[in-house]
Point group: C2
Chain length 108, copies 2
């Protein structure tokens, strides 16, 4: 991911991190993101993002039946995805430093 795309693509890193940490399907991921404070996140944002990540080979999926409704598509992170996540974490840390350096001049 290019450094500048990070400004837009923060959701991507969050999704990769959640998928790495737990076996999860799309609908549940939307609820999880909302619980983490992204209260306005909707399926129309997450599902296309999951499709993009899978196409890029950063995650894989397998469909399993649900006891409560239609089939669930579970996602799993790949080795490439884990590498991408590490890159994201580095760039996220460095973004915080840069932005805070700019903002701190103000708050004093």
């Amino acid at each position: 991911m290019k450094e500048t795309q990070l400004l837009k693509g923060i959701l991507e890193g969050c999704v990769l991190s959640i998928i790495k940490e737990q076996r999860i399907y799309g609908y549940e991921l939307v609820q999880t993101m909302r619980n983490y404070g992204f209260t306005t996140i909707v399926g129309g944002t997450i599902y296309p993002l999951l499709q993009k990540l899978e196409k890029q080979g950063l995650i894989t999926s397998s469909e399993l039946t649900s006891p409560d409704g239609p089939n669930r598509k579970y996602f799993f992170i790949t080795t490439e995805g884990e590498q991408q996540l590490e890159d994201f974490k580095d760039q996220w840390s460095s973004l915080i430093v840069k932005v805070n350096r700019i903002l701190e001049k103000n708050g004093e």
Copy 2:
């Protein structure tokens, strides 16, 4: 600014903060952003952003002659712009908390 737009609009907050803290013109702002670590920022990103902010009434401008080249357009933050900057700072803090809460589950 909507919470979700923050994911894209981080540059906007940085630009407002820099303009508040110093009398600056567009070309100089590009250099300043680069010095702060946004090394790939170019005029094609900053100038349209400045035009948008001025149209929204968050900054004003006045053109002054330069000793070194064409006229410079200096920018100044408005009261509305300062309010917007405070909003941005609040949302930026809360974004850091949310994203870090997601990522920290991973790093352990």
